[in-house]
């Protein structure tokens, strides 16, 4: 297609024409934006399971679609459906059940959960020593048939592909806490290759279970400031002590700009480029010199054909762990030099917590809304600045700003680093 819009590298330009979001603050863009701009927190004491003995007892749970003992994968599917529906409806492309492109789904790994293991254990009739071999012995009973598909790694993607009518093999992926950004990247790349005119990128995570809380606790990753949940997530503050586990989902309809303009779609934003760079220093820690984080942002600028001077706002990874925020500061100082303290940067995680595999998509949607509204949601709970961090974190109160181009950072365990460049419409 000989389109009007090409980027500097001669590739199709990728637009965002629909978005949907669910976080612990609420369901839908309108509700979320209102609360984000007001600096509200969605973090609460966990009430869906017993919290005795846990070191961390707070989280940003999503009640939408939740019911007791629901498999997390089923909860993920429900909120992914909701955000996908919101995005497709806004875009006006195809319809629910006839989306004209592929789907890229960022989500958490799937496995059987404790309620199911306990059901199987009960069926074994064994009293004091239940083994997996015992579970296998009873597993072929008809009443457990529903557990089979539930534990399939592709189940959520397959069900969503049926629901939305997306084309081809749905791709479920993880790059840990960068997953949502990776899903968007894959969609952008497919459109640039000319494989499709549109793609649906979704990130969804509903990992607030006892075992997830324990696993992250054992890695000393979580805040233990349980007494006042709303104030626990304090990215870039001196007294930050870990991230707050949270649930959330977001969806973006990505579309070839020519295609979108031709059908008169409203352009919510543009994704001029993205970048990645892996870190092999350690399984959970960043290279002390920050090179991979720096490289990831520079790769994104190169891909987008921009310079650091063009960046008006940074949507931080900003997890509120001592390590992440320090390294993000180091990386930003290296990339932006003297300008680093002057560019507004804020962490949505201060309000919604860390939505893990959903975060990259959730924060891309919020970044796009930030550009649309020309208003920056704050980094809340910023009462004790960290003297080691020299950034303008938009403390506590939202701020109007002129934003043409923004970046959204996502970093994850396993050395995953991704950076998205997001801009307003082309004119």
């Amino acid at each position: 297609m000989a389109g009007r819009y090409k980027d500097k590298a001669g590739r199709p330009v990728v637009a965002i024409t629909g978005m949907g979001i669910i976080t612990s603050l609420g369901t839908g863009k309108e509700d979320n934006w209102k609360k984000l701009a007001a600096g509200e927190s969605g973090i609460r004491t966990i009430s869906r399971f017993p919290i005795e003995s846990l070191r961390t007892t707070i989280a940003g749970t999503v009640d939408e679609g939740y019911e007791p003992d629901i498999a997390p994968s089923m909860h993920t599917e429900r909120i992914a459906k909701k955000v996908g529906e919101e995005a497709i409806a806004e875009s006006g492309i195809g319809g629910i059940g006839s989306f004209p492109g592929p789907m890229f789904l960022a989500m958490a790994p799937i496995e059987l959960e404790w309620p199911h293991r306990f059901d199987l254990a009960e069926a074994t009739g064994a009293n004091d020593n239940v083994t997996y071999a015992d579970l296998v012995r009873v597993s072929s009973q008809e009443r457990f048939a529903s557990y089979y598909e539930m534990a399939k790694y592709g189940i959520v993607g397959e069900n969503l592909a049926d629901h939305f009518g997306t084309q081809g093999s749905p791709i479920s992926l993880t790059t840990a806490c960068a997953s949502g950004a990776t899903a968007i990247q894959l969609g952008v790349e497919a459109i640039r290759r000319g494989e499709c005119q549109a793609a649906l990128a979704i990130g969804a995570d509903t990992s607030v279970t006892p075992e997830s809380v324990v696993r992250f606790s054992l890695l000393s990753a979580l805040s233990t400031q349980n007494a006042n949940p709303a104030e626990a997530s304090k990215p870039f503050s001196k007294n930050r002590d870990g991230f707050v586990l949270a649930e959330g989902a977001a969806a973006l309809v990505l579309e070839n700009l020519d295609h979108a303009k031709a059908r008169g779609a409203k352009i919510l934003g543009i994704i001029p480029g993205s970048g990645e760079k892996s870190d092999n220093f350690h399984r959970t820690r960043s290279s002390p010199n920050g090179k991979p984080i720096i490289g990831c942002m520079l790769n994104a600028f190169k891909d987008a054909g921009i310079t650091p001077e063009d960046v008006d706002y940074i949507n931080a990874h900003g997890t509120s762990t001592p390590e992440n925020d320090k390294m993000e500061n180091t990386g930003l100082a290296a990339v932006f030099g003297e300008r680093a303290p002057k560019i507004p940067i804020s962490s949505n995680k201060s309000m919604i917590g860390h939505t893990l595999t959903g975060a990259g998509a959730v924060e891309a949607v919020i970044t796009t809304m930030t550009i649309q509204h020309q208003r920056i949601p704050p980094t809340i709970n910023h009462k004790v600045p960290d003297p080691g961090i020299s950034l303008d974190v938009v403390p506590n109160v939202a701020r109007d700003a002129k934003i043409r181009t923004a970046i959204s950072n996502s970093f994850g365990f396993g050395g995953q680093n991704a950076c998205l460049v997001i801009a307003g419409d082309v004119n």
Binding site: G154, K277, G414
Partner: protein
């Protein structure tokens, strides 16, 4: 957009129950007729294909690194090392610095002793919720989480072998393996990547993974039979395997003087809801897309049939219409879910080099090798979802 580039496979690594490396696997495929590398006792009555003994030290020299990984990660990191060595890029910092990775992985191996302890104690616990929390906190090893996360295979490959361009991990059993290679193929062809590692590993000889398969009543019980002949419901023989490919643009490979194992000509992946006739229809559509490129008198099929029914019979019927000679690897190396397709691409590369087919095993292994094998089509019909088809050719 610039013209599509040619895509080469310049390295392959494979470990399975048959051994390590393409040649060793090929020799066993050729010699062991009927297939012998399966285990009927460890998980009786279920048949499994455990990994052949491997000296992990040769690809993962640091014991500390090995300790940080569960077997599925060690297997995958090992196979990745074999592929990098095969491609001649081991330790080449300049290339590894920009090398991309797409991994197909499920992860999810659990500490079955911890789980057993909790399942055994929960009934007597006064407060089950508190009991679960306490036991998880006290019994789970902190590093186990990292040994379970799917994307930590990529993380460990980065740490051990130094690949630091990018990594993405696809989840979803067989379809993840096909899509990992398909997306890599498209990225390299379009100039979005110059050189990529595609890798996967699966450690299926574990009770916790047997469980999730048997919930669908899908495990193969003794006696062993070839994948094509496992009766009305069929059966999967869980396997251990790691497979890895270095995929590269022709230009990039030529510039560094790399010798290709094969040209990756085409790759298709799709899905359906598995209603009667849908597997055959999807395979037929995929075949129609690649058929113009197939040299029919010089081509053979390596099938990824799992042994589960009805998908295996559906594939058999679709392949019968295509009419090329067929060999399924599952009868020999078992089923490795995410990893099977990449393992079969590796075996297909060796098939091109050998110019022969291994002996037939079972009713779906049909036809004889033509005088010259110039192309191999590789199928992947997922045990539950996903149909894929690739074509590679000799250079």
């Amino acid at each position: 957009m610039s013209a599509r580039r040619e895509v080469w496979i310049t390295g392959a690594g494979l470990v399975s129950c048959l051994g390590e490396g393409l040649e060793a696997n090929w020799q066993k495929l050729a010699d062991e007729s009927p297939p012998a590398a399966h285990d009927e006792t460890t998980f009786a009555p279920y048949v499994t294909h455990p990994l052949a003994p491997i000296n992990f030290d040769t690809q993962i020299p640091k014991k500390g690194d090995q300790r940080q990984m569960e077997l599925w990660q060690r297997t995958g990191v090992y196979a990745a090392g074999l592929a990098l060595a095969n491609a001649g890029v081991t330790g080449n910092a300049e290339i590894l610095d920009t090398m991309d990775m797409i991994i197909a992985a499920g992860g999810g191996e659990r500490d079955i002793n911890v789980d057993s302890g909790i399942m055994s104690g929960i009934k007597a616990a006064a407060n089950p919720g508190a009991f679960l929390n306490e036991r998880l906190l006290s019994d789970l090893r902190p590093t186990l989480f990292l040994a379970q996360l799917p994307n930590l295979l990529a993380g460990n490959i980065g740490i051990v072998h130094g690949i630091v361009g990018s990594s993405r991990t696809f989840m979803g059993e067989e379809a993840a393996g096909v899509d990992a290679l398909r997306v890599t193929f498209e990225r390299v062809a379009a100039g979005q990547s110059n050189i990529s590692l595609v890798a996967s590993s699966f450690h299926g000889t574990r009770w916790d993974l047997l469980l999730v398969t048997e919930l669908g009543r899908n495990l193969l019980k003794t006696p062993f039979k070839p994948v094509w002949d496992r009766g009305e419901r069929g059966g999967l023989a869980m396997a251990d395997m790691g497979a890895s490919l270095v995929v590269e643009s022709k230009e990039h490979a030529e510039k560094r003087g790399a010798k290709p194992l094969a040209r990756l000509v085409a790759i298709q992946s799709d899905r359906n809801r598995r209603q009667p006739g849908e597997i055959e229809a999807t395979l037929a559509t995929e075949w129609a897309a690649i058929e113009p490129k197939v040299k029919k008198d010089k081509a053979v099929v390596i099938s990824g049939a799992s042994g589960l029914e009805p998908p295996t019979s559906a594939e058999k019927s679709a392949l019968a219409k295509i009419g090329l000679p067929v060999r399924a690897t599952g009868s020999h190396i078992g089923h490795g879910f995410d990893t099977q397709f990449l393992a079969n691409i590796a075996i297909a590369c060796e098939t091109l080099r050998q110019g022969k087919l291994f002996p037939a095993c079972g009713s779906g292994d049909t036809g004889e090798a033509p005088k010259e094998i110039a192309q191999v089509a590789i199928t992947s019909v997922g045990n539950w979802r996903g149909e894929g088809l690739a074509l590679i050719e000799k250079m």
